[in-house]
C-alpha cells in the first residue's frame, strides 16, 4: 500500500502553507522575559568578570524568540549598549544570561 503518499494535500491555493507557517511561528513566539534586580546584578557581575577570548554560553532574546549560543567574548561597549562576541553582537537589554563554559 502507498501509505501517506495517497494523502498528499491538493495545495490548490498558493499561500496556504505560508499562512500556516506564519501561524505556527506566531504560536512559538514568546514575550521578552523581565529580569529581576538580582538577575540583572548577577548578569552585570558575569559580564564584568569576562576577559577577551573567554568561551561563554549566552542566552539572549531576539525577535520573539529566545536563543542559546556558545560564543567567544570580545568586548562590552557600554556607550553603544552592546556586547560583542565572535561573529555575534547582542544588545545589552536583550541579554538574559552569560556564563563561562
Amino acid at each position: 500500500m502507498r501509505g501517506m503518499k495517497k494523502w498528499q494535500p491538493f495545495k490548490s491555493l498558493n499561500g496556504q502553507y505560508e499562512v500556516l507557517d506564519q501561524m505556527k511561528k506566531k504560536r512559538s513566539e514568546v514575550s521578552k522575559p523581565e529580569l529581576s534586580e538580582d538577575e540583572i546584578e548577577s548578569l552585570n557581575r558575569s559580564l564584568n568578570d569576562l576577559k577577551k577570548g573567554d568561551n561563554t554560553k549566552i542566552v539572549f532574546y531576539h525577535d520573539h524568540e529566545i536563543y542559546e549560543r556558545q560564543a567567544i567574548f570580545v568586548r562590552c561597549d557600554v556607550l553603544e549598549g552592546r556586547a560583542f562576541f565572535l561573529g555575534l553582537s547582542v544588545t545589552l537589554g536583550d541579554l538574559l544570561s552569560v556564563s563561562p563554559v
Binding site: 500500500m1 501509505g3 494523502w7 491555493l13 506564519q22 504560536r27
Partner: protein, 422 residues
C-alpha cells in the same frame, strides 16, 4: 498487509469545516449560515462564473450545489446574497482554526489536508486526559464553534481512511455532524455505498473501470479477491480493496515528501485571446513562476507550456535549459519562442499554463563555460532586486511595461489568490 496495531488501531479525527467559504461570509455579515441563502461567487465575472460555495441553508432548501454555475442559482430566492470571495480572509480563518487544533494536539499529530479539512491523531491524548474519542472530539468542535462561530463535520475512525469515510458518509447527514466508526461499522455503513465514486479514493474514471469489472457497491469490492484487483488495476486496486474493509496503513505522522517536485502557474482567460496576444500573457506568467521559484529557493531545468483552445483542446511544448534557472527573462523568452515556432493564427485561445519540472534547490548553482557569466550575473541581480521589491511592497509595485497592455492579466492576477478575488 500491515497488521501493525500502531497503524491500524489509532484514534483519528477528520474535521471538515462546513461550507467553509459560505459560512465565513455569513458570519462576516452577522448572519446564521443555517438560515441565510448565500452563495460565494464573483458577480462581476458574469453569469457563467463558478459558485465557490453555498450556505447549508440554500443547499438544503433550494438544492443549490457548490461548484455550480451562477446562472443555475434560482434568482427568485428571497434575500439571496451573492458574496464576493475573499480568499485572503479564508486563508486567515483556516490558519486560526488550525491554531485551535494545535491547542489540542502537537504539530506532528496534525495533518492539514486542504483549506477546510484537517486530520488529527488524538490516540495519545486520550490516555493523558482519560477521555473518550467522542467527548474529546466534541470539545474540539465546541471550541471552534465558540471561538469562530463555524460549524464543523467530524468523523472519528481507527485510521485516516475510516475517519474520512465516517465524515463523508455518515457525519454529514447527522444532526450533530459527528460520526464515530469502528471496524465493525464498515459492513453496515460502507458496504452499501453506491455509486463507487462516493467513496474517497475512487474517481469517475476508476468507478467506470470498476463497473466494467462488475463492481457496483463497496461491498462487492470487499468480498472480491485482492490479487484479482491488483492484477486488473495495479497498486490502486489493492489499495481500494483494503479501503473497502476499512483498512489504511497510512500513519498521519509520516509526512510524505514527493521527490519529483514541480511548480505550476495556470489560468483560464476571461475572454477569447487571439494568437498575437498570447506572448504577453506567457511573459506575465513567467514572472509569476519565477517569483515562486525564487521564494522556494529553487531552480528548474525543464519547463512546459500548455495552451488550450476555446474548444477545450490544446497542446503542450517543452523547453529545456542547459543549466537550471529561475530567471523570468530567460524562461519567458524561451517559452514565447516555443509558442511562436508553431504559428496557429486561426484558433482562439482560452487557457494557458506553465509548469517548472524537476526542481532543484538553488544553493548549488553550477556555472557553465558557455554562458555569458557577467551578463547573466547582471540580469540575476536585477531580477532578484525586482523579486524583493515585489515581495516587500506588493506584486504590482514592480511591473513589466507589458502589464499595462489590454491583453495582460498581470495586475488582475496580482490581486487574486488561487484565481479568485483576494
Amino acid at each position: 498487509m500491515q497488521t501493525d496495531m500502531k497503524r491500524t488501531d489509532r484514534v483519528i479525527l477528520a474535521i471538515d469545516l462546513k461550507s467553509f467559504y459560505a459560512s465565513v461570509e455569513c458570519l462576516g455579515r452577522d448572519m446564521d449560515p443555517f438560515t441565510t441563502p448565500l452563495v460565494v461567487a464573483d458577480e462581476d465575472r458574469g453569469d457563467g462564473t463558478i459558485v465557490l460555495a453555498a450556505s447549508p441553508f440554500i443547499k438544503k432548501e433550494y438544492g443549490v450545489k457548490s461548484r455550480c454555475r451562477l446562472y443555475e442559482v434560482p434568482k427568485n430566492i428571497k434575500g439571496l446574497i451573492i458574496a464576493k470571495p475573499h480568499m485572503k480572509r479564508y486563508l486567515e480563518v483556516s490558519a486560526d482554526i488550525n491554531s485551535i487544533y494545535l491547542d489540542f494536539v502537537a504539530e506532528q499529530d496534525l495533518f492539514v489536508y486542504s483549506i477546510d479539512e484537517s486530520f488529527l491523531d488524538v490516540s495519545e491524548y486520550l490516555k493523558i486526559h482519560h477521555d473518550t474519542p467522542i467527548s474529546y472530539a466534541k470539545k474540539i468542535i465546541e471550541t471552534i464553534k465558540s471561538k469562530t462561530g463555524l460549524t464543523v463535520t467530524c468523523g472519528i475512525g481507527k485510521n485516516m481512511f475510516m475517519a474520512k469515510a465516517a465524515m463523508d458518509i455518515e457525519a454529514k447527514h447527522k444532526t450533530d455532524f459527528l460520526a464515530s466508526w469502528d471496524y465493525s461499522d464498515i459492513p453496515l455503513h460502507l458496504w452499501p455505498i453506491s455509486p463507487l465514486s462516493k467513496m474517497w479514493g475512487i474517481g469517475q474514471r476508476l468507478e467506470k473501470r470498476l463497473n466494467d469489472l462488475g463492481f457496483y457497491t463497496v461491498g462487492d469490492i470487499a468480498v472480491s479477491d485482492p490479487n484479482y484487483l491488483k492484477e486488473k488495476l495495479g497498486v490502486i486496486g489493492e489499495e481500494i480493496y483494503y479501503h473497502s474493509l476499512g483498512y489504511d496503513d497510512a500513519l498521519l505522522q509520516d509526512t510524505y515528501v514527493s521527490n519529483n517536485h514541480s511548480l505550476s502557474v495556470g489560468q483560464v482567460l476571461l475572454r477569447d485571446y487571439c494568437y498575437s496576444e498570447i506572448p504577453v500573457v506567457i511573459r506575465d506568467m513567467s514572472i509569476e513562476l519565477s517569483d515562486r521559484l525564487f521564494t522556494c529557493k529553487s531552480l528548474a531545468n525543464n519547463f512546459i507550456l500548455y495552451v488550450g483552445y476555446k474548444d477545450h483542446t490544446g497542446y503542450g511544448k517543452k523547453v529545456s535549459f542547459f543549466t537550471p534557472t529561475d530567471s523570468a527573462e530567460n524562461i519567458g523568452k524561451r517559452l514565447v519562442e516555443a509558442f511562436l515556432s508553431d504559428p496557429d493564427t486561426k484558433n482562439l485561445y482560452r487557457q494557458i499554463s506553465i509548469v517548472a519540472l524537476d526542481i532543484v534547490p538553488n544553493d548549488n548553482y553550477q556555472g557553465s563555460l558557455f554562458e555569458d557569466y557577467e551578463g547573466e550575473k547582471r540580469i540575476r541581480t536585477l531580477e532578484q532586486t525586482l523579486v524583493s521589491i515585489r515581495e516587500k511592497f506588493g506584486t504590482v509595485k514592480a511591473l513589466p511595461c507589458s502589464a499595462l497592455t489590454l491583453s495582460s492579466t498581470f495586475i488582475t492576477r496580482a490581486n487574486q489568490i488561487g484565481g479568485h478575488h483576494a
